[in-house]
């Protein structure tokens, strides 16, 4: 990389830095703390970003359709015959993953695939936020 020798070169004057510091920054021989700090913050905040929650109040409205099957105690899936799972109080990340899999067609249940396809990512976050907030 081209460096600035002595006091030559116009960028030096515009930055107000000494030639030594200017070259350090240009060549990366001495990384400033700001980018390091930013990188560290980004890495530590990744788990928070992954678990970004939606709007529980909006979710409460959006689960209207879900209650048709998940809202009836003891309700059974007609075929194959098994109980429709309890989804209230389930963990947020799992609910997001399950609904996203249905949306993408990665889980097979026909009714849930149809539901998943009709949901936006925001809908999924809102619904999962509301469902995970429920208690028995």
């Amino acid at each position: 990389m081209r460096t600035v020798a002595g006091d030559e070169g116009w960028p030096l004057y515009s930055t107000g830095l000494t030639p030594e510091k200017f070259n350090q920054r240009r060549t990366g021989t001495k990384m400033t703390r700001a980018p390091l700090l930013a990188a560290a913050l980004l890495i530590t905040s990744l788990p928070c970003l992954a678990a970004e929650k939606g709007d529980a109040a909006a979710g409460k409205t959006k689960v209207y359709t879900c209650a048709g099957c998940h809202g009836i105690p003891g309700w059974k899936n007609p075929y194959p015959n098994y109980h429709v799972p309890k989804v209230g109080g389930q963990n947020y990340d799992y609910l997001v993953a399950a609904l996203t899999e249905y949306k993408k067609g990665e889980r097979a249940h026909p009714t849930m695939r149809a539901q998943g396809e009709s949901l936006s990512e925001q809908d999924i976050r809102d619904i999962a936020t509301y469902l995970s907030s429920l208690t028995p």
Partner: protein, 116 residues
């Protein structure tokens, strides 16, 4: 005859009132469930939100999920690894065990929808 009819009625009502009667062997399921606890929690209420809570879930839904993981119909590398080691009897027993656990945090959506 009246007595017989009454006892029949009581028996029928009692049978109907028993929720989702699990057929599996809960104790055998508990013994098989040790690996599950690492992710799903010792009490079946997974603390890590990426894993589902199993305590109090319907036993037949849990069976269904395990069979789907075993056949590969439901794709998850972690669960495929465990489910393929389970026999049909194990699946029924493990599902019965998690369904039977007390302290469930799961609920259906009865009375939990806007307007209810």
């Amino acid at each position: 005859m009246k007595r017989f009819t009454a006892s029949l009625l009581i028996t029928t009502l009692a049978a109907c009132a028993t929720p989702a009667f699990a057929k599996g062997d809960i104790e055998a399921g508990k013994a098989k469930s040790v690996p599950c606890q690492a992710c799903h929690g010792a009490d079946g209420n997974a603390a890590d939100p990426q894993y589902p809570r199993l305590a109090g879930q319907y036993h037949d839904y849990l069976e269904r999920a395990l069979r789907e993981y075993k056949t590969g119909e439901r794709k998850n590398p972690i669960m495929a690894g465990f489910a393929t080691t389970l026999s049909e009897e194990d699946i029924v027993n493990v599902s019965a065990y998690f369904a039977s656990l007390p302290g469930s945090k799961l609920t259906d959506l009865h009375d939990k929808v806007q307007g209810d």
